[in-house]
């Protein structure tokens, strides 16, 4: 699964930095019929979490109304040099993650 993550590499203490993620995923709603006339099974990302220094700073509960190849942007307050981890769960319950280090100083 391809995902693109954008987090600044460095920040000053107290800075509010933007986190952006774009994930390659069909976000199949489960409401569409396929070429054979049958419903295409739902296949969506249900949740995305952002951990900073191991602590959850942001979470999104995601429904089928989020566009294919989902894009999310949000913020976090830079306080310490630590890992920023993005975790998301797909229809099969499989967890995926991307990690970046945010250097604060």
């Amino acid at each position: 699964m391809v995902a693109m993550v954008n987090i600044p590499e460095t920040a000053a203490p107290g800075d509010i930095v933007e986190v952006k993620i774009l994930i390659s995923h069909p976000m199949e709603t489960g409401f569409r019929t396929g070429a054979d006339g049958n419903l295409v099974p739902r296949d969506i990302i249900h949740e995305l979490r952002c951990l900073y220094a191991g602590e959850e700073v942001f979470r999104a509960e995601i429904f089928p109304a989020i566009a294919a190849n989902p894009f999310l942007g949000f913020f976090l307050r830079a306080t310490e040099t630590a890992e920023v981890e993005l975790l998301w769960t797909d229809e099969a319950g499989q967890e995926h993650s991307e990690r970046r280090t945010l250097t604060v100083g």
Partner: protein, 150 residues
Amino acid sequence: MTHCPSRRTVVRLALAAPLALRLSPAAATPEAFRAALDDFTGGAPMTEGRVTLDVPLLVENGNAVPLKVSVESPMTAEDFVEEVAIFNELNPRPDVIRFHFTPRSGRAAAETRIRLNGTQNVHAVARMSDGSLWSAVTDVIVTAPACAES
């Protein structure tokens, strides 16, 4: 010929031309929308304000509509935005996304891209750490190519 037609023109054309979104099935009922809203608010009253919901007035395709939401809040441990829920009225189900914030979010703001099954209202409801509820609503006109691939 302008490329940003007036609302009236677009509404008339939208009526004349078949809307062909991939997202096609039956829309949720007004009751389902109310139920989803009540599920989030617990029936408590909401006040309009403090929430800014930024969605284009007119979009060419409902498959990926840019949405930004932000809420006025100091985002301190004592006073922050806990959650923002986005709802629509006419998709097969009313829930769109729920953003959970913490004081470490720094800013109660998020963006994403949503699906809209035709012209409708989009709602944002914020729950603060003191339990109060604030809301915003905006309407979006969705046009779609008339001879689109199904």
